[in-house]
Symmetry: C2
Subunit: 666 residues, 2 copies
């Protein structure tokens, strides 16, 4: 096919294709196939439907676009450049996948304005999109008034076969169908190719039927390569269906335009090479130099700037009216979306004295969460079907369900992985919402890919993970975390809290709420724990503190513990009354490691032997144990028995702590 | 409802219910609801269909039964006891969930004979069942002859709403439909209740329609509480459908028989208590003491013993004929299912000299895997749609597809989590198959719950995880493992290999193949690595060895490295020629830690400073760094750029190793 003359639409579409081809070629790395195949649907979407302001990527009521098939990042960078975002210049595109560039291999929200969420790990983006749509529905239900619609935008996601094969997308889309998220529209780039070749090798299910089973509206576009009218019609239809999310299954050709490699896996993830690029230029009638977009195409794309300015200006008028009519709500809206916490919110945090009765930290977590929920209305979340075990129900609110989106209790079902990814999406709606999720700590493994992305994409999610050790008892090793806490501590940037009592619980939540670009894990006990004498909210902020001291700067031994083992060490220290023993509680290693050397050595002076006590794997404690220290840990899988029996069998007794301590001091 | 007199069927079914009620009550812990509701379907299945020999739980051609809803463990223990397995006595049931018992909180294959796989983490069991069915199909295709059917059994799984909400089940069932696994039959205990209450709070999709979309045959049984005939008819129909797996959606009442708590979440996971047990006894007309099964019910159930003996005896006759007619195949079958590796198989392992060209360990992995595949016909596996990146295709075999089940190349699609769980199932078919799976190392996070279960359930799975560090380059931080290797090392019992070259690759696979009850991770480089002078297959078996020594027992410094950083340290040691520097390669920490103190201190003598070099998080290295050492590591997320640039920017250069080494020796 030689195209003699091209329509403006074709020019616009081919501009996307060749930016992708040229950038991947220059980097000699990347994925040209998806941008080439999905350029038509994105042209239609971004040109006719997507409401955004390139000059203000943060405009609160913009439509959200998620490239769930994140390997096609050049598609997104091309769209951002063409529509006039300042974040992606032609130079940035020429620096695709280079050190320090704003155009990394996969889209990263923290690197490139206009990229809403970080994608690449397949299936995550569509789940983020479900979260974005939930955030929109929630804010709309909360702030809109019959005569004043403040929040009213769509969330679009582009997904490929990979996204649809990943189970996490099924979890999220089942939930999206259940919730009837009518403003969620997924474009499925149905190109029949994955990395291993034709999808017939492993993926022959009826995807449309599956989505109908989830309660979605499904539209098919048989020719997504050239039938722009059908794509536009489908999106229009999707927008008209207000009570269901819509999947638009668009049949495309991967690498469209490449005469020898289109429709094959060979064009998915490798540069085309000079010869095939030449053939593709010939085939698509493209005579422009690399990285050159014809002026009329660029001019057309850049109409997005005026369109965007007008859209935001129209919204600004609504916002003015809203402020006049609903001043209190407007103040609240403004506060929340600008990430200002309610003044004095932290006064809600409960405190405890040793006279207060022993309770599980999952229970103090419940008390704290509920207190915060009243003081901080942007807190929203729930559990993966363990609400009454994780103790995460917000009593001041109601369920978030179809038609009751103002509710702040999310019901995720048994879908841990989607839960994590949805919470990332809620956080990255960037309107101040603070999502939390919850399950048993051991099932962090199910959602680990999402937890990693919480940390990587600098979004604030609180992961409430209860039943935090073998002490949970009878459920046995499948349910008992052993290596889970260490494995979470290993994730860069994630704050892992393991509070020892009520005060530490409050302190942990205080940090988690105040750090607006960090994710936290709350590892909470199933079993009751006493309220400690030395604990406080403030102490947690420094990560570790002296719970009991021996009245001297250089103790003979430090008992270093976290969570449920702190009170055990306090009891052991009493038994060791004649020795100079210090007990250090370390509710958050990451915070401790942020402190200056002076603080750190005031808590853990060099040269003093340490006995670390944590009911988890010793993996990762070496740097604190040191060459001369020891640890009481669990370095095998757990067992099924009452929790007290297990703790005893694994050596978490005063006697054993005392014995090990004495041995170290001998 | 007061039942005046009970049929034998009712007695048998109520025996299951009350064993569950009584055991949970005695333990004051456990899940009575599922056993009470699913007892009828299990009675029909185990009494009329399931082919097994209680007195030989290892009979190779038994039907496999998987309790995917593992929390209902008392259902399985009751069935094992009632049908006459020696592994579960009435005393064992009375010890439900107690320390050291054979009846732990969730079914564990390594604790209780008759339990095929370890379940509890939801969704895993049905994926294991897909793996079991794949193993059956493979062995049947490989060993059966037109006149002699050696392997011919069904795989049944019982799943609940939780299993169906988990995305991992969707992944596996989509693949099962694609593969047309006709002998896989899933019983869906559709009781409309999950822990948070009625499934209407989060799970309203049309499950049957979804399975039809996957290519399954779907049958509905509207009354699974009492319509035993309909259940039997459905199973009969399912068996008659030979080209598709079948889902039987059976509507039941959770906690059937409990007058006040049946049909509610309240009976899911808690003891009934004396009053409600009394009411349930009254309601179901059950007058027997706790843990007492009426003689006629027990006698009926125990007919399974004769039935099983007969079934196995019939099979033994076939086996005799097979041995006569196909002696070579019989020898091979016998060898494989008895876990004897082919004699001298290890001779296939390639070796290298420093003159051999540098290649990536993913490439030496490919060479090794292919060599092993020829020598060890029980090796079977594949990748999650990254076959040509992971380099895992077995050239001596063909694809495992519908109708070509003899093929040993598994095509998992982009379904990492199901892949891991399916491999667990293949391994736990206990017929000697050695499954491997493959993806990028960073996506171990997607399948972590399955990897954990590989290790916990003592099954041999080889996880081939390539692109093992930030050196993979341009794909950027979403694709770059940093904390992944440490987080895998934290899992008890898992062998984590990071070979430095071809010899170490062969050595790693040698251990992985020979350890028949352990799972291994192979962390393999994307980039080329030189063949080292000091490496060998044998050296890997001890976990760490001296790659280059300084000709003395007490070096000034040890450079301790793994994988791609070993050759870097070798180069640095050359630069440090005037110093006494030893380079230690540690391809597997777990193996090193198995060695005796003498060996360990011969490699890493106490008192010698160490510089650890690994392109991953330092988390977990503290015990080897020691109080005086240092490390070159990656303690943040990676970046998108060419791999060489990244390694340089992160300090993985000879210059930096030399500088840090000199500083330590200063």
């Amino acid at each position: 096919m030689v195209v003699a003359s091209q329509s403006l639409e074709e020019l616009c579409i081919n501009s996307v294709r060749f930016l992708a081809i040229d950038a991947v070629e220059k980097a000699n790395s990347g994925h040209p196939g998806l941008p080439m195949g999905a350029a038509p649907m994105c042209f239609v979407l971004w040109d006719q439907f997507l409401r955004f302001n390139p000059k203000n990527p943060d405009w609160v009521n913009r439509d959200r676009f998620v490239l769930s098939a994140g390997h096609g990042s050049m598609l997104q960078y091309a769209l951002l450049y063409l529509t006039g975002y300042d974040s992606v210049t032609i130079e940035d595109i020429q620096q695709f996948r280079q050190w320090g560039s704003r155009t990394p291999g996969h889209p990263e929200n923290f690197e490139t304005k206009g990229v809403e969420v970080t994608t690449g790990p397949l299936g995550q983006g569509i789940c983020n999109a479900v979260g974005l749509a939930m955030a929109e529905a929630h804010l709309a239900a909360k702030f809109n008034r019959p005569d004043c619609t403040l929040i009213d935008h769509y969330t679009y996601a582009l997904m490929g076969d990979g996204c649809n094969m990943e189970g996490v997308s099924g979890e999220a889309c089942s939930l999206a169908g259940h919730l009837g998220l009518g403003k969620l529209i997924a474009l499925y780039d149905d190109n029949h190719i994955s990395i291993d070749g034709d999808t017939t090798v492993s993926f022959t299910e009826d995807v449309g039927m599956r989505y109908r089973a989830y309660g979605w509206h499904v539209i098919e576009v048989p020719n997504g390569d050239t039938d722009l009218g059908a794509i536009a019609q489908a999106i229009t239809e999707a927008k008209s269906v207000t009570d269901k999310p819509t999947l638009i299954k668009i049949r495309t050709t991967i690498g469209y335009g490449s005469p020898n490699r289109s429709g094959t896996a060979g064009i998915h993830g490798a540069a085309l090479g000079a010869a095939e690029i030449a053939a593709t230029r010939e085939n698509l009638g493209w005579s422009h130099e690399p990285f050159v977009v014809p002026a009329d195409a660029l001019a057309h794309w850049r109409k997005a700037i005026d369109r965007g300015a007008e859209a935001e200006s129209t919204w600004e008028q609504i916002w003015q009216i809203y402020k006049d009519k609903y001043p209190a709500e407007a103040v609240e809206f403004d506060r929340q979306i600008n990430y200002r916490l309610p003044e004095g919110w932290e006064k809600c945090l409960p405190t405890y004295t040793p006279e207060d009765k022993p309770v599980a930290t999952r229970k103090t977590s419940e008390i704290t969460l509920n207190a915060i929920a009243e003081a901080v209305p942007e807190l929203i979340g729930g559990s993966a079907d363990l609400t009454h075990s994780n103790l995460t129900y917000l009593k001041c609110s109601t369920d978030f369900q179809k038609g009751t989106y103002a509710g702040r209790n999310l019901r995720f079902g048994v879908r841990e992985h989607a839960m994590g990814a949805i919470c990332n999406g809620i956080a990255l709606h960037n309107t101040g919402l603070i999502p939390f999720d919850a399950t048993f700590l051991v099932f962090a493994d199910y959602m680990r890919a999402a937890i990693r992305l919480s940390a990587l994409s600098q979004c604030q999610v609180i992961h409430v993970l209860t039943h935090d050790s073998v002490a949970l008892g009878e459920d046995g090793p499948t349910h008992q975390p052993v290596e889970t806490i260490p494995s979470l501590r290993a994730i860069p940037g994630l704050l892992v809290f393991r509070p020892a009592d009520g005060n530490e619980t409050s302190g942990a939540y205080k940090v988690a709420i105040e750090r607006r670009k960090e994710s936290s894990v709350m590892a909470m006990s199933r079993q009751n724990l006493p309220q400690l004498a030395g604990s406080s909210i403030e102490a947690v902020a420094k990560g570790a503190y002296i719970a009991i001291d021996c009245g001297c700067d250089t103790p003979d031994l430090i008992l270093l513990a976290t969570g449920s083992e702190v009170s055990l060490c306090v009891d052991a220290a009493k038994e060791l009354g004649d020795k100079k023993v210090r007990v250090v509680s370390m509710p958050c290693r990451e915070l401790f490691e942020e402190q200056d050397e002076a603080y750190r050595s005031s808590i853990l002076p060099k040269g003093v032997k340490r006995l670390v006590v944590e009911a988890a794997s010793s993996f990762g404690w070496g740097k604190y144990i040191g060459d001369e220290g020891d640890m009481i840990s669990v370095d095998c899988f757990g067992a099924s028995a009452p929790g007290g029996t297990i703790m005893k069998e694994f050596g978490f007794t005063v006697e054993n702590v005392v014995a090990k301590a004495k041995k170290l001091m001998a």
